[in-house]
């Protein structure tokens, strides 16, 4: 419900509960930056928010092409937000190609802000329009704000000592300024950022700030077309605490560092760049002072192997990649598994198969995580649900890896990695320690001695006097750790390896219900980054009194002990996944429930509306 309220800057503004804005332009237009800055301001103003950056696989495709369009969507609200929003209320299109690609997502009556200076005949043709969309009725059903942004930007920065090319490159700040005015965002955080970023280029800093202010001033002074006006989105009533914006990449990095500290280990990351996992390498390499060593290996195999080598000598071994890179690591993961060394394997999933859609998101590596190795090789699989949750799941992965001496797979995805959300910063001191105790006592030592409870083998690190031993990929004798080709021993070792992993189920929380009752007509069972969309969809249905609950898995293998019982309390189970159906098969196998699969393999997160429709069709009537 929109009501008019007085705002801090004196004007009369319409109050909105929530808004979805999508910035779109050429790869070179700085849309990711614009979105990020808008996000920062919005976060600082106390709204809840979620974002979705969506960019092409090309670094900087030729200007004006549709495949070169880069977009950033933000959803912010005065209430709890869980997804970047289904359809944008406002589209900022910096050129015809951006309009071409994104207009179809804007509902009729939505607002479209256009940079008319970019609508040259050439650009219009490049975008694949036969006619000028500004004139041929394409925009008839929208509120259109058409502005000569280039020209206005150039005028605004006239006094700054910049070239005309540099001047034009400030146009994204002009657009940002206008949006700040329109949604009553504070410009100061952006000004601060610009000053810091361009500390060595004060003329550039000045120009960007001038453009920002000019865009803002434009909103204040120029009369907008009817339907377009200034809004305010009151702050959300969020949990008190200290917040920051966080991406999944940052949260995984911090979680791994925190986990390593809690385990009292140094962290060694062996990695090879790959979209969208590279950013984790970049982030961790900047945390060297927290006891982190990073190694850009020659390939993914060397990356995982270096991490196993590091683990052997007493570090927390970590390796990160995306699906195709993980495929290359599977042989070595088998080695870590059979030598029972702690290793965290982060898979930032992307669209596949093969090179697939490298910059799009997908959840299609679940089978690979759970089953994707030769031989009987069970290992724990943990999945993150939100950017902030990446912090907790990363710690959990480290805890399991070190306590149970096993490789652990942590599944995130491109959406989580890149999108930002406000995150209540936890008190790291309140997170329990789980320090590793290396074996030092030679008395009765052999490398495969196991802890009676966890079944983890003891960890003796090279350099320790008296504990010299050999490990390796050949089967080892249960009782001595020497190589053994004995038939019964192999059976026994296979069983104990499986029992160790199964036993982790006793050491993880019982499965809870995210929203809804613990029994009912329909359980919507999710995992990973669909959390927000599923939660919101189920939440709306629950509010309407429908008998549906949301159950969201963090532990994919082993499952929480009570999961089967919980699911048995529902008439139907529906499993929405951004893949062609994977978790659903594990559930059916394990619990023999006729779980149904809802699939969306578009490289885009689920829309809340899609899920609502699927829920209704199962519980209504």
């Amino acid at each position: 419900m929109a009501t008019n309220v007085a705002t801090s800057d004196g004007g009369e503004r319409k109050a909105l509960d929530s808004v979805v804005i999508r910035f779109a332009g050429d790869s070179g237009d700085g849309m990711q930056l614009t979105g990020t800055q808008f996000t920062q301001s919005t976060a600082l103003m106390g709204n809840d928010l979620a974002t979705f950056p969506d960019f092409p696989a090309e670094i900087r495709a030729p200007a004006g092409t549709t495949f070169g369009v880069s977009a950033f969507q933000i959803n912010f609200a005065s209430y709890d937000i869980q997804t970047p929003g289904d359809d944008p209320d406002v589209l900022v299109a910096m050129n015809p190609a951006a309009l071409k690609v994104h207009l179809k997502d804007v509902p009729k009556g939505g607002t479209v802000i256009l940079n008319t200076d970019a609508f040259s005949d050439r650009n219009i043709a490049r975008a694949g329009y036969e006619e000028n969309p500004l004139e041929d009725g394409t925009l008839d059903n929208y509120i259109v704000i058409a502005i000569e942004i280039n020209k206005l930007t150039n005028a605004a920065v006239e006094d700054c000592d910049v070239t005309s090319k540099e001047a034009t490159r400030c146009k994204n700040f002009w657009a940002l300024g206008l949006m700040c005015w329109m949604y009553n965002r504070d410009r100061q955080p952006t000004v601060d950022w610009v000053n810091q970023r361009f500390a060595k280029l004060p003329n550039i800093a000045a120009a960007n700030i001038a453009a920002l202010n000019a865009g803002h001033a434009y909103g204040e002074t120029v009369e907008l077309p009817s339907g377009a006006e200034a809004y305010v989105v009151p702050r959300a009533d969020v949990q008190p605490g200290t917040y920051r914006a966080v991406t999944g990449t940052e949260a995984v990095a911090w979680g791994l560092v925190a986990g390593a500290r809690k385990a009292n280990l140094n962290l060694f990351l062996g990695s090879y760049p790959i979209t969208p996992a590279s950013a984790l390498l970049h982030t961790l390499t900047n945390l060297k002072h927290y006891g982190v060593t990073t190694f850009q290996a020659e390939d993914e195999i060397a990356a995982v192997c270096s991490a196993i080598g590091a683990a052997y000598t007493g570090a927390l071994g970590v390796t990160s990649s995306s699906g195709p890179g993980i495929a290359l690591k599977t042989e070595a993961i088998g080695l870590a598994l059979v030598t029972e060394l702690p290793l965290v394997v982060v898979n930032v999933q992307r669209g596949g198969p093969s090179t697939g859609l490298p910059t799009k998101t997908e959840q299609s590596d679940l089978f690979q995580a759970v089953y994707g190795r030769n031989a009987d090789t069970p290992l724990p699989v943990v999945a993150s649900r939100t950017a902030g949750d990446c912090f907790e799941t990363a710690i959990e992965a480290v805890r399991i890896a070190t306590k149970y001496m096993t490789p652990v797979i942590l599944l995130t995805d491109g959406f989580l990695a890149n999108s930002a959300e406000p995150w209540e910063i936890p008190d790291a001191d309140a997170i329990p320690d789980f320090p590793v105790e290396f074996r030092t006592d030679p008395e009765g030592f052999h490398p495969y001695l196991r802890d009676e409870t966890t079944l983890a083998r003891n960890w003796a690190v090279p350099g320790t006097p008296g504990l010299m031993h050999r490990i390796g990929g050949i089967e080892k004798d249960y009782d001595s750790g020497h190589i053994s080709y004995d038939s019964d021993n192999h059976h026994r070792m296979t069983k104990v390896r499986a029992a160790k992993i199964d036993g982790i189920a006793n050491d993880i929380p019982e499965q809870d219900v995210a929203i809804g009752d613990t029994t009912g007509k329909l359980a919507v069972l999710g995992w990973g980054s669909t959390f927000g969309a599923v939660n919101q969809a189920v939440g709306r249905c629950v509010k309407e009194g429908l008998s549906v609950s949301h159950i969201h898995l963090r532990h994919i293998h082993p499952f929480p002990l009570n999961l089967g019982e919980l699911l048995s309390g529902f008439d139907k189970v529906m499993v929405p996944e951004m893949n062609n159906g994977q978790l659903v098969h594990l559930i059916r196998d394990k619990f023999l429930v006729d779980a149904e699969s809802i699939t969306q393999i578009t490289g885009q997160p689920f829309k809340v509306s899609t899920l609502e429709r699927e829920i209704r069709s199962r519980v209504e009537g």
Binding site: P189, P240, R261, F295, D299, I301, C305, A310, P442, I471
Partner: protein, 344 residues
């Protein structure tokens, strides 16, 4: 509960584990492990500092027979594991044992990059020019025309020269010795150990089952003096049963040739003096092959540069000095944050 390492001197046998050795009787690997035990004892390396990494193959069983720490990993990947180990724990004294298939076929890239990065590892390549453990297929070092189960009509692809590959990848230490050359081996291994950075040592090894005698043409006692040359830094490149043959510059000035002192006016002064810092010379020596040339043994090239692990740790230390680590809470709160207060 820590047990002190005994101060008594370690004997060669102290480096042997209690596990029964499982190579074929007569395999060259027996001689090599003996040489390694002896060398380690001469250097008195503490057992607990010593780690042997290996891949998969006959050679790769090596760590099981050592009383040190050891990791028998997967085919071709030992240099990658060892790199991680050295970076994570630079105090360790790390050795790698690789077969020719292991190091140069499946593991070629890791071998090349460990050498390029100059990680402080002692890399031993046991070159028997064959796949032993998988029963005798030809390897990338097998001579042209090698008949094997996978090349019944003879191989048609040119073999690699391991030391040339190492030099091509920027190797700073390359050396060669052979299994039964027990007098020679310890010196080479000690030089490799002394070299801080990637030390690449090719150890020619006879596989008695699948490639027996393939090196006899120059390793056999009867011909070794005439068909191989043992190089030493600063010493003339002289060889031959009668010490009268030598390596001299070729007539066109580029390249080298074999000459006989006392023939066609050749004197000792014409013989090149080995310079282990001369890469051009090293490349030529590495490439010398029978029958035109003697096979070169010893340290062909030894020209240290900062080891990768040392640089990495220097950089880590510098970062830590400039940016002292804070608490986890500080890490999480660095950058922009905002506070929502009670009742806001």
């Amino acid at each position: 509960m820590n047990v002190e390492t005994p101060v008594e001197a370690l004997k060669p046998n102290d480096y042997a584990s209690d596990q029964e050795v499982r190579w074929c009787p007569g395999c060259g690997d027996y001689a090599i492990i003996k040489g390694v035990h002896r060398t380690l004892a001469e250097m008195q390396i503490p057992l607990e500092k010593l780690v042997f990494f290996s891949g998969i193959g006959c050679a790769a069983r090596f760590p099981y027979y050592m009383a040190s720490y050891g990791f028998h990993t997967i085919h071709g990947r030992a240099p990658a594991l060892a790199t991680g180990a050295k970076l994570a724990n630079p105090d360790l004294d790390i050795w790698i044992v690789m077969g020719d298939g292991d190091a140069l076929s499946i593991g070629g890239n890791h071998t090349m990059h460990a050498i390029r990065r100059n990680v402080d590892l002692n890399m031993l390549l046991f070159n028997n020019e064959i796949y032993g453990l998988t029963k005798g297929q030809y390897s990338p070092t097998s001579q042209l025309g090698t008949r094997s189960p996978s090349t019944p009509q003879g191989s048609v692809d040119a073999p690699l020269t391991p030391l040339s590959v190492a030099l091509g990848a920027g190797g700073r230490f390359v050396a060669r010795t052979f299994d039964t050359n027990q007098k020679h081996m310890p010196g080479v291994l000690k030089a490799a150990h002394a070299h801080k950075g990637a030390s690449f040592v090719e150890i020619i090894q006879n596989c008695i089952v699948y490639n027996d005698g393939v090196f006899d043409g120059w390793t056999d006692k009867k011909v070794v003096s005439d068909n191989s040359i043992t190089v030493e830094h600063g010493k003339p490149l002289i060889f031959g049963a009668e010490d009268n043959k030598g390596i001299a510059r070729s007539d066109d000035g580029f390249g080298i040739q074999v000459v006989t002192i006392g023939e066609s006016g050749v004197t000792e002064a014409d013989i090149l003096v080995h310079d282990e810092k001369n890469k051009i010379l090293a490349m030529m020596l590495a490439d010398m092959k029978q029958p035109d040339f003697p096979v070169a043994l010893g340290v062909l090239y030894n020209n240290p540069a900062t080891a990768y692990d040392a640089s990495v740790h220097e950089q880590l230390a510098a970062v830590k000095e400039n940016t002292p680590a804070g608490t986890l809470n500080e890490m999480l709160r660095k950058g922009r944050t905002w506070t929502v207060s009670e009742g806001a």
